[in-house]
């Protein structure tokens, strides 16, 4: 199905506001401090003088309530997936997921492990993948600039997608989390 309407012209007041807001969103990415996997080791140099991601307005927030970005830093064990879902659902809209490492894309070298999931996208809406094992800080920064571009363009809509296809995601999540006791999604 194709969209017949012509694209809305910029200049609409609301549009402008949204655009400014998107600029702000892109330049102020607060990351949940959650090192879910081994990729977290390269997040530390990102803070420091060598790479300094605070230049881009990227900062760590200790609590998910205040964060915009969740970095999945590598493979996810099922036990962690449960916590990640919880953390993700506690974040406030709009929110984004950056997945690091090959193992989030297709399982990487753990494709046959009994405890790590292979394709993260089936369980959570990933906005940007950064490949590598593990990705270098430069690659992560590159991933972030990609995310920023997407946000500026208004295309980082993973959270909306998650809301709309919640059943799909839930089904997948419940398939591998055998003792499901999380509450329903709340925004």
């Amino acid at each position: 199905m194709y969209c017949n309407q012509p694209p809305e012209k910029p200049g609409n007041k609301k549009e402008l506001l949204e655009k400014i807001t998107n600029m702000a969103r892109a330049n102020s990415l607060w990351v949940t401090a959650y090192g879910t996997g081994c990729g977290a080791i390269e997040l530390r140099p990102l803070h420091t003088s060598r790479f300094d991601m605070e230049r881009f307005g990227i900062a760590m927030r200790p609590t998910p309530r205040q964060a915009d970005v969740l970095i999945i830093s590598g493979y996810l064990a099922t036990k962690t997936l449960k916590r990640v879902i919880r953390v993700y659902e506690q974040m406030q809209d709009p929110k984004y997921i950056v997945a690091l490492g090959s193992c989030t894309i297709n399982g990487g070298m753990y494709f046959d492990s009994y405890n790590t999931l292979n394709v993260l996208d089936k369980y959570l809406p990933v906005d940007v993948y950064v490949m590598g094992c593990m990705p270098r800080p430069e690659a992560i920064i590159d991933g972030f600039s990609l995310l920023m571009q997407k946000i500026k363009d208004g295309r980082a809509q993973g959270w909306k997608h998650y809301k709309e296809n919640l059943d799909y995601y839930r089904e997948n999540q419940k398939k591998i989390i055998t003792d499901w006791d999380l509450p329903d999604y709340n925004w």
């Binding site: 949940t32 401090a33 959650y34 090192g35 879910t36 996997g37 081994c38 977290a40 080791i41 390269e42 530390r44 140099p45 803070h47 420091t48 003088s49 060598r50 760590m60 200790p62 998910p64 493979y75 064990a77 036990k79 962690t80 916590r83 953390v87 070298m109 753990y110 046959d112 492990s113 009994y114 405890n115 790590t116 094992c133 593990m134 270098r136």
Partner: protein, 374 residues
């Protein structure tokens, strides 16, 4: 059956410290109960990083496991390669050329230096002294640059292989190492002033997180945790592997039993590593760096069992390797030092500790969850 006073819901608060917590080291959690701000009971939960390495290694060829083992410990992956390689060499009897041994030792010491820089700064970082943490990680980055040049990767090097190392040192590497060491040494006194001479750092760490000397044997504590409590145990000295018997060094030990003593051990380990690296660089022999291996896809290691030990930055690291003579290992069991530090010891140390000191204590044990969970 009354209510357990340590977990009485009326008197205590029940909380999870981690996994999503800035003060926790890596992806693990501590479930704790506390009364006021004093902890009455703590349980360590691990397994958030469990990837089933040991199962996967049984499914892969001997040589294919090298990319796997290095991922067991993220901050210091070379230890795993070394330990695994030592076991294979012991089982197959492959001889390692002399120069390869020196290079291996160099790599191990560089890795140890990197980890200790990060851990020493991180100790101050948990107390809110972000400056020290930042500096520590920055210094580490210099070392990572060396690794990148040597091995092509910053974190997972896959450099040590059975029978030697992957390649020789690039030309001029010694000079660059020396330059990095000089740079680090130049800044270290400033870091000392910031951390070790800081009255408040002392207030927060002295007599906190005490590890009693009698616990060392009870729990099997190793590394800086044991050496901060007066132990002089160091595999490099006691059961020398590679060329440690040719190097001149004393085991670092402190008698304070507390977090400050452990931080002090780490700090002196940095000096020790620098000195060892200098010794290695000056005494490096010439020669080949690897023995030719048979066709690795058809490589069968003779049946046997061996427990190899290496001193990591966190203490003794062991690999229990069982081969049944087939293409793949029968069993590889990794014994990381964090295993006892983070689970039984931490649970015991936290009882009675202040809630403000949880992260502090945990970092002083330098727990590394992946090596517990594998």
């Amino acid at each position: 059956m009354g209510v357990n006073p340590a977990t009485d819901p009326k008197k205590t608060t029940h909380l999870f410290f981690g996994p999503q917590h800035p003060g926790v080291t890596g992806n693990m959690s501590i479930e704790m109960w506390f009364d006021g701000d004093q902890i009455t009971k703590a349980i360590t939960h691990v397994g958030y990083l469990h990837r089933g390495f040991e199962k996967l290694m049984e499914k892969r060829l001997w040589i294919q496991n090298f990319p796997l083992v290095c991922r067991i410990c993220v901050p210091e992956p070379d230890i795993n390669e070394e330990c695994y390689a030592l076991a294979i060499e012991e089982l197959t009897g492959i001889e390692v050329p002399e120069r390869a041994k020196w290079i291996r030792t160099l790599v191990l010491e560089l890795a140890r230096l990197a980890v200790n820089l990060m851990a020493f700064g991180g100790q101050a970082g948990t107390l809110g002294l972000g400056t020290a943490a930042m500096w520590g990680i920055t210094f580490r980055d210099f070392v990572l640059d060396l690794f990148e040049e040597l091995t092509g990767a910053r974190i997972y090097h896959i450099f040590i292989l059975p029978g030697g190392v992957r390649r020789d040192l690039p030309p001029g590497f010694e000079n660059r190492v020396e330059k990095v060491l000089g740079k680090i040494e130049e800044r270290l006194p400033e870091l000392d002033r910031l951390v070790l001479n800081n009255a408040i750092f002392k207030l927060r760490t002295q007599n906190v997180g005490v590890v009693k000397p009698e616990w060392i044997e009870e729990y099997g504590l190793v590394g800086p945790v044991a050496r901060g409590s007066g132990s002089v145990r160091d595999v490099r000295k006691d059961a020398p592997y590679e060329i440690y018997n040719k190097l001149d060094f004393d085991v670092v030990t402190e008698a304070g039993n507390d977090i400050f003593a452990r931080a002090m051990v780490r700090r002196r380990e940095i000096d020790l590593s620098i000195s060892l690296i200098r010794q290695i660089l000056s005494g490096m022999p010439k020669g080949p760096v690897a023995t030719k291996l048979p066709n690795v896809t058809e490589w069968r290691v003779p049946a046997g069992e061996y427990y190899s030990r290496v001193e990591s930055s966190r203490g003794e690291y062991g690999y229990y390797v069982v081969s049944d003579g087939s293409l793949k290992p029968r069993r590889v069991h990794v014994r990381g030092p964090s295993y006892v530090h983070a689970v039984p010891l931490l649970e015991r140390m936290l009882v009675g500790a202040n809630i403000a000191d949880v992260s502090n204590i945990m970092v002083s044990l330098t727990t590394c969850p992946p090596e517990i969970e594998r």
